[in-house]
């Protein structure tokens, strides 16, 4: 057992480091200055420029086939690139959904000339894609969407509303799942399309989140007309296409990085005086620190097991399905606990060491437990796919969508 690269991996890591050194600034030890740049208003333009540079050098999507600008490389090399890139001050995150989920769905269903048109600009950061799935009445049960698409000659007319659409306010294109037949059971009446976000009738309204940020949006469709050529997959087979997208989502979700963790919690516990002395000497505090340390290590090492499989060219086991189930509540609970250590001052936004950082975890954790699959849905997935337990009995299974809830 070891954590070492193979010869090929080590050589590649070296190549990546040289390239990053030549093209980006390495992060300093000072986390403050590393973070400050994320508030840069010109971030999107910088991110696009960085994405273009990366794509030109062949690092943007290494696992993609060469014809689409990839290298047909093993996923482990892409991981190595990302590990190294994380040490540099570069703007990231705008392209993950598009390249991780939307374009792979396009690759599975779009026509060759459409791929010719859309893949390259997406890869080079010139066009950004979003995923229009969730709706006000369909979150975890995403097949329950109501946005409808009706056939009109060679076109389709879309009406309805999407929500929680990450990045829609800066996206150029999107893939959208619609209901084309409400007279059949819900999974059977769906169809997937892609569309230009500037198509008349598409309106994007940002949603201010509890954290104060506004990365999510509501997207309204009012008589949006798109040609049938923008359909992905067959009419009524949208669910199959959506599963392609969502399967890629599972690969795209990683660990949130850069937040405060055990080291900062320990420093806080050393500096905090409780009734019986420094908090770090208190057994309750020590128990908590130990439990979160075991989780933190467990997640890191679980990821190493997955990477081992990738490095050997094998399919990883299901172990990575635990990551968000553990990471999200840990983030929330540890944030709340650290704030408790600070006493009443734990609510203050300034002048208290670590307060803002742990508050961000506490707030962010509440969202992270929901985004990309709730704690509850992820447990269902583990129970069904890993342990082979039966799916829930569905009262909506054989009922036409428009008859649901009417009995």
């Amino acid at each position: 057992m070891d954590f070492n690269d193979t010869q090929e991996e080590a050589a590649f890591r070296q190549e990546v480091r040289s390239w990053l050194d030549a093209n980006a600034t390495r992060k300093s030890d000072d986390t403050q200055s590393n973070r400050a740049r994320n508030d840069d208003p010109g971030l999107l333009q910088k991110a696009k420029a960085w994405q273009d540079k990366k794509a030109k050098a062949g690092y943007a999507r290494m696992t993609w086939p060469k014809e689409f600008g990839g290298r047909g490389a093993s996923p482990i090399l892409q991981v190595i690139y990302q590990q190294e890139e994380a040490n540099y001050l570069v703007p990231l995150g705008f392209f993950d959904i598009g390249l991780g989920m939307c374009i792979p769905t396009m690759m599975a269903y779009a026509k060759p000339e459409q791929l010719q048109r859309y893949v390259k600009p997406a890869l080079h950061g010139q066009e950004i894609w979003c995923q229009l799935f969730s709706e006000p009445a369909a979150g975890s049960d995403v097949a329950g969407i109501r946005t409808k698409a009706e056939r009109d000659g060679d076109d389709w007319i879309i009406n309805g509303q999407k929500v929680w659409t990450s990045g829609a306010h800066y996206c150029d294109f999107g893939i959208v799942i619609t209901r084309t037949d409400p007279n059949v059971p819900k999974h059977a009446g769906l169809t997937m399309f892609f569309l230009d976000m500037k198509t008349p009738g598409v309106e994007v309204r940002p949603i201010k989140q509890m954290s104060g940020g506004a990365n999510f949006n509501e997207v309204f469709f009012t008589n949006v007309r798109i040609p049938d050529s923008q359909r992905l997959g067959k009419v009524g087979e949208g669910w199959k296409a959506a599963l392609t997208t969502l399967m890629n989502e599972r690969l795209a979700v990683g660990l949130p990085s850069g937040g405060l963790d055990i080291d900062e919690l320990m420093e806080l516990a050393r500096e905090t005086e409780l009734e019986d002395g420094a908090a770090i000497r208190n057994q309750q505090v020590r128990s908590k620190i130990a439990e979160w340390y075991v989780q933190q290590q467990g997640l890191k090492l679980t990821r190493y097991r997955t990477l081992t499989a990738l490095s050997k060219g094998q399919t990883p086991g299901p172990e990575s399905s635990i990551i968000k189930i553990v990471a999200a509540p840990k983030m929330q609970d540890m944030g709340a606990f650290a704030m408790e250590l600070m006493g009443h001052a734990g609510i203050m936004k300034e002048d208290v060491p670590f307060a803002a950082g742990f508050q961000a975890q506490w707030i962010g954790g509440a969202g992270f437990r929901i985004a990309g699959g709730t704690d509850e849905i992820l447990r269902n997935i583990v129970a069904e796919r890993v342990l082979g337990l039966p799916a829930d009995i569905r009262v909506d299974k054989d009922v036409a969508f428009n008859q649901l809830g009417k009995k």
Partner: protein, 374 residues
């Protein structure tokens, strides 16, 4: 990145697993639980034939000279079967104590006996109520004679020898030493004691001027014990991972088969989420155990921290799986005839015998503080 066992190690694991599935089904665990035998000697002899006690013993001492990783895969399978054999006591604790602290003469004499299964060793630390500490050990060793009482001692009846912690007159942590004592002598009395896990027999050992000798330096007992427990924590973690996995699948199989309100109980989220949590804890434990094994193998600087993390995660996983296995079974799971009790009992035994989670959490943070200070 190569954070996995080798194909050879996986093959060994498969071999031990097959043997135990065949020769140590739950009815053998029940036989020992209900009966009088000290352990399942038929299963133990088979494991000896497979070479399990010899795996981690150097070739010069009659063993197979393999790495800790081989012992880890065997431990996982022993744990999965809840096998009623002296693995934790003899293969882990006694063997590792001799390897760690034994003189060349002691190793030459006893390691080959352990490797061949001729001898069974055990560790004798606790003295009844109160967790053992250097200041509360009353058993004394002096002038080559051991006096005092040790309980509970795992496999105390079956064991050929014990390694005991005894007061040797120093002060502070240096008050105690490890002492090797042959149990086949007039100065030793063995008495079976009742415990929560009758599938693993325990004894009270009384020493009355028993002939004994130091194992390791005088006054070094506590320091050696801490190091021994770090290695043991890793092996125990694998046994706990194996047990947790077995309990989880036992619960899952029952949840598929048992119907309530017109459907399998495994289709209810209350059961599914509980079992998903078993899986989450199991994988956290497995990953931490792997790192413990890796540090143990390369004698890495991170071993004390990795061992503590493996111990805490594995204890949590096994405790949780064992108790929720009973819960998933409902009333039948609480009967004497159900197999659920084996893991419930074993999980508590393994959780307590080398120090419970609270103590290990405290140790982990101490080690984290030391690492950060360094």
């Amino acid at each position: 990145m190569n954070f996995d066992f080798s194909d050879d190690q996986k093959l060994l694991k498969e071999q031990v697993r097959k043997f135990l599935a065949d020769k140590c089904p739950t009815k053998v665990v029940r036989r020992v639980l209900d009966g009088n035998e000290t352990h399942a000697d038929d299963v133990w002899k088979g494991l000896v034939d497979l070479g399990v006690p010899a795996l981690g013993i150097p070739e010069e001492y009659g063993g197979m000279g393999l790495s800790p990783l081989e012992v880890c895969v065997a431990a996982e399978e022993i744990g999965r079967a809840a096998a009623p054999v002296p693995f934790d006591s003899s293969v882990v604790l006694a063997t590792e104590a001799l390897k760690l602290a034994g003189s060349d003469a002691q190793k030459k004499k006893w390691l080959p006996e352990l490797a061949s299964g001729k001898a069974i060793g055990t560790l004798a630390i606790a003295e009844g109520a109160q967790p053992p500490k250097p200041r509360n050990i009353r058993t004394t060793f002096g002038g080559g004679r051991l006096n005092g009482k040790k309980l509970p001692v795992t496999d105390g009846e079956a064991a050929t020898f014990a390694i005991a912690l005894a007061n040797t007159g120093g002060s502070g942590d240096r008050a105690v030493s490890l002492v090797f004592v042959d149990l086949r002598q007039a100065g030793v009395t063995k008495k079976r004691i009742e415990t929560i896990d009758p599938a693993r027999k325990h004894a009270e050992l009384t020493f009355n001027d028993a002939t004994a000798e130091l194992l390791g330096g005088e006054g070094e007992g506590w320091r050696l014990l801490e190091r021994l427990y770090d290695a043991a924590a890793v092996y125990f973690a694998f046994a706990q991972v194996g047990g947790a996995e077995a309990a989880m699948w036992m619960a899952r199989d029952y949840a598929l088969q048992r119907q309530a309100f017109g459907r399998p109980i495994g289709s209810y989220q209350a059961i599914k989420h509980k079992l998903a949590d078993c899986y989450v804890k199991l994988e956290l434990a497995r990953s931490n155990a792997y790192y413990g094994a890796m540090m143990l193998t390369e004698d890495g600087a991170d071993l004390p921290l990795a061992a503590a993390a493996a111990r805490i995660a594995a204890t949590d996983a096994y405790d949780f799986a064992a108790k929720e296995n009973i819960q998933t079974h409902g009333g039948i799971g609480f009967t004497w005839e159900a197999d659920t009790q084996f893991h419930y009992r074993r999980s508590r035994l393994l959780a307590l015998s080398i120090g419970g989670p609270m103590a290990w959490k405290d140790k982990l943070v101490t080690r984290l503080e030391q690492k950060n200070a360094a």
